[in-house]
């Protein structure tokens, strides 16, 4: 599904250094690592929002690098993304935000769009929020609207960047359960970045750890938990003492 090989990216300074990563179809993949280690940048590389200077990025058996803009748009029809800052359009209502991918990517009539928006908002626990604006929502509600927008197109690949950042433990747990439920329901491939390691590891199949732009660990969730790699061990277990 996703195959990255020797990806290097500089944005004024080195951000990604020789990153190689494979995500199999139907997998829920967790990407962890300290702040500014290149996780969010890697997600944008996968979607073609950022182009690395070297390496290969294959998504759905298609090389993303060098794709013309219209082919990138075609590729992104199959990808849903929830951004770190939610990226809700502040001049649109909740319903307009959630419906935006449907209006842009699919040729559906208005009734069907409205039905699917209502169904999605109900699924994320926000029924009746259609006419509200993002500015009037709490942090958790914004996250859930962003999740609804990322999943409404029933994309084959869904990417979540910090879906529970800044949420209280209860809201955070609800978001993770929702994402797991969504993934099991649709069988989509999911790549998720989160700093909430405990909850993330409770839902992932495989885990990769980034450190200073490099992928220092890649394996199953059980392997990650049992890893003796000093950085991985310290980070996964949240220890104060260690090389980090």
């Amino acid at each position: 599904m996703i195959d990255l090989a020797h990806v290097c990216l500089e944005l004024g300074r080195p951000i990604l250094n020789n990153v190689s990563l494979q995500v199999p179809e139907g997998c829920l993949y967790g990407l962890v690592g300290p702040g500014a280690s290149g996780k969010s940048v890697l997600l944008k590389v996968i979607t073609g929002l950022l182009s690395p200077q070297a390496g290969s990025v294959r998504v759905f058996e298609q090389e993303v690098l060098g794709l013309p803009e219209h082919e990138l748009f075609e590729l992104r029809r199959k990808i849903g993304m929830q951004f770190q800052n939610n990226a809700l359009f502040d001049f649109m209502t909740v319903a307009q935000n959630v419906a935006f991918p449907l209006r842009r990517l699919f040729d559906l009539d208005e009734t069907e769009i409205e039905d699917r928006v209502s169904e999605r908002l109900a699924a994320v626990g926000l029924p009746g929020f259609e006419t509200r604006f993002p500015s009037g929502l709490s942090g958790g509600q914004k996250k859930r609207v962003a999740v609804a927008r990322a999943t409404i197109g029933e994309a084959k690949l869904v990417i979540y960047d910090e879906p529970a950042a800044g949420l209280d433990p209860v809201s955070s747990q609800k978001v993770f359960e929702l994402l797991r439920r969504e993934q099991q329901r649709s069988g989509t491939t999911v790549v998720m970045v989160s700093s909430d390691i405990e909850r993330l590891l409770s839902v992932t199949d495989r885990v990769g750890m980034m450190l200073a732009g490099e992928l220092v660990f890649e394996g199953t969730t059980a392997q990650a938990k049992a890893s003796k790699h000093p950085h991985v061990h310290q980070f996964i277990n949240g220890l104060a003492e260690g090389p980090l």
Binding site: E10, R76, M81, F83, Q84, A87, L88, R104, R149
Partner: protein, 262 residues
């Protein structure tokens, strides 16, 4: 890539950066023109921005051009009195200057501060909050979705605003001439020196400025990075670059008109 060292290296890097910026700006302009003809339908968006750019700038521009009219006629009259005590040419000379240059250029400089800053801040804050990336993920080109409606609205409303504000400057100039120099309105409103070429030049300038402001400001907004500081910096660059572009366009179009019409 290693950062250039030494004065020459830094000058070279600066020149390359400037050239790269110019090339990217041209690309934004080219794509804006392309999407103006082939863009996706966004019902009501152009009308919305026509209201924001046109209606909401009208009072500001009317006040500015009203005062500009008074100042130019008053200062012009004083200078004229020193040379020849004949005020009969004051109106015709002022009106020619107003139609050919003053109305379009002053209006555009004011629009660059109001409209240009607004566009750069709006687009820039969408960039730093990842809303532009979210647009791209939904197959919406930010130039089509964000810049095109503002471009079309600015193109139309800059011409309308220049005509209205120019008329106000003519009226305030006329009143100033009457009050300070006893020039009768019928003498002042002498359009004998304003010919068809002057009108064409004035309207061409209005169109060119109307195109330049949203494209330059949109480009500055799209190249914003970082947080609120990045948005602030993009807004400043938008106002400075738009103003500079207006002055350069003024020079180029005036020279071209001189070569074409004599």
């Amino acid at each position: 890539m290693k950062a250039p060292t030494g004065t020459l290296g830094q000058m070279g890097a600066g020149a390359l950066g400037l050239l790269g910026g110019g090339a990217r700006l041209l690309q934004v302009f080219r794509k804006t023109l392309y999407f103006s003809l082939n863009g996706s339908p966004q019902p009501g968006e152009v009308a919305k921005y026509m209201y924001i750019i046109g209606n909401q700038s009208l009072v500001f521009l009317s006040v500015v051009m009203g005062f500009i009219g008074m100042i130019v006629v008053y200062q012009g009259g004083i200078q004229l009195l020193r040379v020849i005590p004949d005020m009969s040419q004051l109106g015709s000379t002022y009106l020619e200057l107003l139609v050919k240059d003053l109305a379009a250029t002053i209006c555009a400089l004011m629009l660059a501060t109001r409209v240009g800053a607004g566009i750069a801040a709006e687009v820039g804050s969408m960039v730093v909050t990842e809303q532009v990336d979210a647009l791209r993920m939904c197959s919406a080109d930010p130039i089509d979705y964000l810049i095109r409606p503002r471009f079309l609205a600015s193109l139309a409303m800059t011409v309308v605003l220049v005509v209205i504000a120019g008329a106000i400057a003519a009226i305030t100039g006329m009143l100033t001439a009457q009050v300070f120099f006893n020039v009768r309105p019928s003498t002042f409103l002498d359009f004998s020196q304003v010919d068809f070429e002057d009108v064409v030049l004035g309207l061409t300038k209005a169109l060119a400025y109307g195109a330049a402001i949203p494209v330059i400001s949109g480009y500055c907004g799209l190249s914003a990075h970082g947080g609120s500081q990045g948005v602030g910096s993009a807004t400043t660059r938008a106002v400075v670059s738009s103003s500079l572009a207006i002055i350069i366009l003024d020079f180029v179009l005036t020279t071209a008109a001189l070569l074409l019409f004599g």
